[in-house]
């Protein structure tokens, strides 16, 4: 084995040897489950905002989506970016695909506070990572009104082609309650960026 691999193996073994013994893991799981059930009871109130967004998208407004958008997709939701998009950070995504929006629905990643998501349905043209098949629904932060080419438009909508990267919201398999990441990880499609994503994900 090469020296660096041996060193890595040795260092990780040394670290593992200092790990503490687990406490009452079953008890801890029980407590988390109780907290989660309390949050689920309170959750419908938090879900009202997301449902309102979905209703607005289904019945109006009548603004068309951006055509020919470039770069990051603007979306609703507060908060700062903990990690910005780059070819260095892109591989951290569990799933990534090239897809066109076909519709909207309820969020698929569950409640629990945080940003207001909508479930966005896609026809998938190409999977770069983490999925297969020609359709998927992932949660995105809701589209917002933008001014594009001097026209008011929705930042994205039915017919918008996007490059989408994200992860399972609560851990697990890539498409287990999937959420698309903001901060540049969800972008308008263009051929050059799509080629870069293909290269990054191998």
């Amino acid at each position: 084995m090469a020296d660096v691999e041996r060193t890595v193996r040795d260092e990780l073994a040394v670290l593992a040897a200092t790990a503490p013994e687990p406490g009452d893991l079953v008890g801890a799981v029980r407590r988390r489950l109780r907290r989660r059930r309390r949050a689920l009871v309170a959750g419908p109130l938090a879900g009202v905002a997301a449902v309102s967004v979905v209703v607005a998208l289904v019945t109006g407004p009548s603004l068309p989506p951006v055509v020919g958008g470039v770069g990051e997709v603007a979306a609703g939701g507060a908060g700062s970016c903990h990690e910005m998009y780059s070819t260095e950070t892109l591989p951290d995504a569990q799933f990534a695909f090239d897809g066109t929006v076909t519709g909207f629905g309820r969020p698929v990643s569950g409640g629990g506070g945080g940003p207001s998501y909508v479930g966005v349905k896609f026809t998938v043209h190409r999977w770069f990572e983490g999925g297969s098949g020609d359709a998927v629904t992932v949660d995105l932060q809701a589209p917002v009104t933008v001014v594009w080419a001097s026209e008011e438009s929705m930042s994205y909508g039915v017919g918008t082609r996007l490059l989408v990267a994200g992860a399972a919201r609560w851990g697990g398999a890539p498409l287990d309650k999937p959420v698309a990441w903001p901060c540049g990880f969800t972008r308008y499609w263009d051929a050059q960026t799509a080629a870069t994503w293909a290269q990054v994900f191998g």
Partner: protein, 178 residues
């Protein structure tokens, strides 16, 4: 006495109960989480509890799988990677200086290992997870691919880049003394 968790999960029909699984595998999962988090006991415990909660909620399906422990590792590793993205991080991938680590000294071996340890801690979450699963958990690339939900080629490429970063920071062999 509180109601045991296993009453509604698994049962005593020959299948492993959730509590039995935790008793058998809890220490191993915590050590894995501890190594992933570079020795952060609090984060490690949080990751293990996240994985176990997921397993408990799906225990009937998980218990019927070939390897519940592999399922737990998958949830744990993916939770680590997801949490790593959300954390405000000042970590940046180490960039090796052209001249290596400086002049050789009698404790060069110790210094080199300390440098490797620091470099391991600075790796992006997914790169660290790949190295931990390969060199601590002794999984082959196919198993890592399955557990992380990424292509085997991505596993190899990620490991290769991370090891290249570590190699570049090690002192060159055959450096002259003094």
């Amino acid at each position: 006495m509180s109601r045991p968790l296993q009453r509604r999960r698994g049962g005593r029909d020959g299948g492993v109960t959730f509590e039995e699984f935790v008793a058998a595998s809890g220490s191993r999962l915590l050590r894995l989480a501890y190594v992933l988090t570079s020795g952060d006991a609090g984060r490690a415990e949080d990751l293990v509890q996240t994985a176990l909660l997921d397993m408990y909620r799906h225990w009937r399906r998980v218990a019927a799988a070939d390897s519940p422990e592999a399922y737990a590792r998958r949830v744990l590793v993916n939770a680590f990677i997801s949490a790593g993205r959300r954390r405000s991080s000042s970590e940046r991938p180490f960039e090796a200086t052209p001249d290596g680590l400086g002049a050789p000294d009698p404790a060069e071996g110790v210094a080199a290992r300390a440098e490797v340890r620091a470099l391991l801690e600075s790796l992006a979450p997914r790169a660290r997870a790949v190295l931990v699963l390969r060199y601590y958990a002794d999984l082959d690339d196919a198993a890592i691919s399955a557990e992380m939900g990424i292509a085997a080629s991505t596993v190899r490429a990620t490991a290769s880049r991370a090891l290249a970063t570590l190699r570049a920071a090690q002192p060159a062999g055959g450096r002259a003394d003094g």
